[in-house]
């Protein structure tokens, strides 16, 4: 028995060690962010900071508009995810609760859009956004994130499992479709809606190519774009860039760790089998 326990402890220690190896790049950024500039420039192998130097964080916050960039990301990710939850749940409601001609065809067209990767459409979408005068605006940064066929699909599956009898019962009570949608269906599907919101938020928060293309003014950049363009004149920038990187990673890591189960089930639901 003792031997078994000993082996289990050893096994867990090994698993934790592998975890540390997996996270080495992040550990590297954290360690560098606490080093003084001369330490970073040292020629020999040196990973553990001599002290807890906070200058890089102060520099990252005071010499750049990091919080403005974070605010931009928060607005773009938050608002577009909220809009996505609304558009997708409305579409899913139509597909799940109504019978009409052409429904299957329209549904196939929705699913078919998954086959067209948005990155490949950046040229035309840039042109459209420019024509609408939305370059360097929040709506312009959001337009391509407002609908996801995957999320329409997830919500439709969720609504389909909803009991039909309740729908019929509320119809007898004189509840219109729209009232049923707002007052019954949405409140009782919060779990699925939150899943879609979080999955969408993390995806949009981390997106890079589209926000890069539709902005060219510094004050409209999202964090993901801004981090690649930070510059600190007259000094070695590396420590401050790593400090900024750590500050940017904290919110998405937190959201991920807190909502891990939701995110998991959100992606899982997107896969038909598995």
């Amino acid at each position: 028995m003792n031997r078994k326990k000993y082996r289990s402890v050893l096994y867990q220690a090994f698993c934790l060690f592998v975890g540390i190896v997996v996270l080495l790049p992040i550990a590297y950024a954290v360690l560098i962010s606490f080093m003084e500039p001369p330490e970073i420039l040292r020629r020999e192998f040196h990973l553990i900071p001599d002290g807890l130097y906070l200058g890089n964080y102060i520099k990252a916050i005071t010499k750049t508009t990091l919080f403005r960039f974070m605010y931009n990301s928060l607005v773009v990710a938050g608002v577009s995810s909220l809009v996505r939850v609304i558009t997708c749940s409305m579409a899913a409601f139509s597909f799940a609760f109504f019978q009409y001609r052409g429904k299957n065809l329209i549904f196939m067209l929705y699913l078919g859009s998954m086959m067209i990767p948005p990155e490949i459409l950046i040229l035309q979408n840039y042109a459209t956004t420019a024509k609408l005068g939305l370059i360097n605006t929040y709506p312009g940064m959001m337009v391509v994130f407002l609908v996801s066929a995957t999320h329409v699909f997830i919500l439709r599956q969720n609504f389909l499992s909803y009991s039909r009898s309740l729908r019929e019962a509320s119809a007898i009570d004189g509840c219109t479709n729209f009232m049923f949608f707002c007052r019954v269906l949405i409140p009782s599907s919060t779990s699925a809606l939150i899943t879609v919101f979080i999955a969408s938020f993390v995806g949009t928060w981390n997106s890079y190519v589209w926000p890069l293309i539709v902005t060219n003014r510094d004050n409209m950049r999202t964090v993901q774009v801004a981090i690649t363009m930070l510059n600190f004149p007259d000094e070695s920038p590396h420590g401050a860039i790593m400090a900024a990187a750590v500050l940017i990673l904290i919110p998405s890591a937190l959201v991920f760790l807190i909502f891990q189960k939701k995110i998991k089930s959100g992606i899982m639901a997107g896969s038909v089998k598995g």
């Binding site: 934790l16 840039y126 998405s252 998991k264």
Partner: protein, 290 residues
């Protein structure tokens, strides 16, 4: 029933579709169709089609050695990063499969890379690979300029991509592995299937639907990879890290060559579509459903 109510009843289901359909049309189907049409025309700077040139744009872009190299690089990217990422994810999942007192901790550690944004991770590796300051050269006592040398630049982009992928692949294979019932495993062991044999003959076939899902979605994602190139190497040195998407970005947004850009868009779409179809063939050959 009054007529207005009748009409309303007919159109009501469509009302709920309007917002999503409008956006899908404007930002998916319209740009896709327009790219397709305009790829056969000379387009002026304002996006107006001026002259029908049939396949000339395609000839131009397929005759562009940089684009051919971008296609080759993208395919290499798929062939290398997809299987390695899934294998690493599967290995981690096998390691973490058994629930222990600390398993939630290392599960979170293995999954965390999927929450990391590509551009921040790119910046971390940019420093780690810096020829003078980076930890990689210091550790291996080398003096390589990893991202500026043709032999190593693309290799490193693929390594970074694998790191970015493993959290996602781990999460999926882990829940698939935990879905395999203990009874199945026990009876397999009684039949003498242990170790590697147990893995290849019993476990892998049972989790193959998940592997298929990962394969299809990772191939689709890898075909449109371009962010790491855009941040770290701008396609250089000498086109050795150019991918289809980074090429598109360079053509249109940086140098304003829309004609070949649209043709390249369509070529890129056809290629990724074909690859995803190919991965479905695997379903017929290698996947077992109960």
């Amino acid at each position: 029933m009054p007529v207005t109510q009748k009409v309303f009843k007919k159109i009501e289901p469509f009302l709920y579709l309007i917002p999503s359909a409008l956006i899908l049309i404007m930002f998916t189907y319209y740009p896709f169709g327009k790219s397709f049409l305009q790829s056969f025309f000379i387009v002026d700077n304002f996006g107006k089609a001026k002259e029908f040139v049939a396949l000339e744009n395609y000839a131009a872009v397929l005759g562009n050695s940089r684009f051919i190299r971008a296609i080759g690089n993208t395919l290499l990217y798929v062939i290398v990063t997809v299987p390695i990422s899934i294998s690493v994810g599967l290995l981690l999942a096998l390691l973490a499969q058994k629930r222990t007192r600390t398993s939630t901790i290392y599960e979170a550690m293995y999954a965390l890379p999927m929450a990391m944004s590509m551009s921040v991770v790119a910046m971390i590796y940019q420093l780690a690979l810096n020829p003078n300051l980076g930890v990689i050269n210091k550790f291996f006592q080398t003096t390589n300029n990893w991202l500026r040398e043709e032999k190593t630049a693309f290799l490193w982009l693929m390594i970074i991509q694998v790191w970015l992928n493993i959290g996602f692949d781990f999460l999926f294979t882990l829940s698939a592995l935990r879905g395999v019932s203990d009874e199945v495993l026990e009876s397999a062991e009684l039949d003498g299937a242990i170790g590697f044999k147990k893995l290849t003959k019993i476990i892998l076939p049972l989790v193959s639907p998940t592997i298929l899902f990962l394969l299809v979605s990772s191939i689709a994602k890898a075909m449109i990879a371009g962010g790491l190139t855009m941040i770290l190497t701008q396609g250089g040195p000498n086109g050795s890290t150019e991918t289809i998407v980074s090429f598109l970005y360079n053509q249109a947004v940086v140098s304003g060559k829309y004609n070949t850009g649209y043709a390249a868009t369509i070529v890129g779409f056809i290629l990724s579509f074909m690859l995803v179809l190919l991965s479905f063939i695997y379903e017929k050959k290698g996947v077992y459903y109960d």
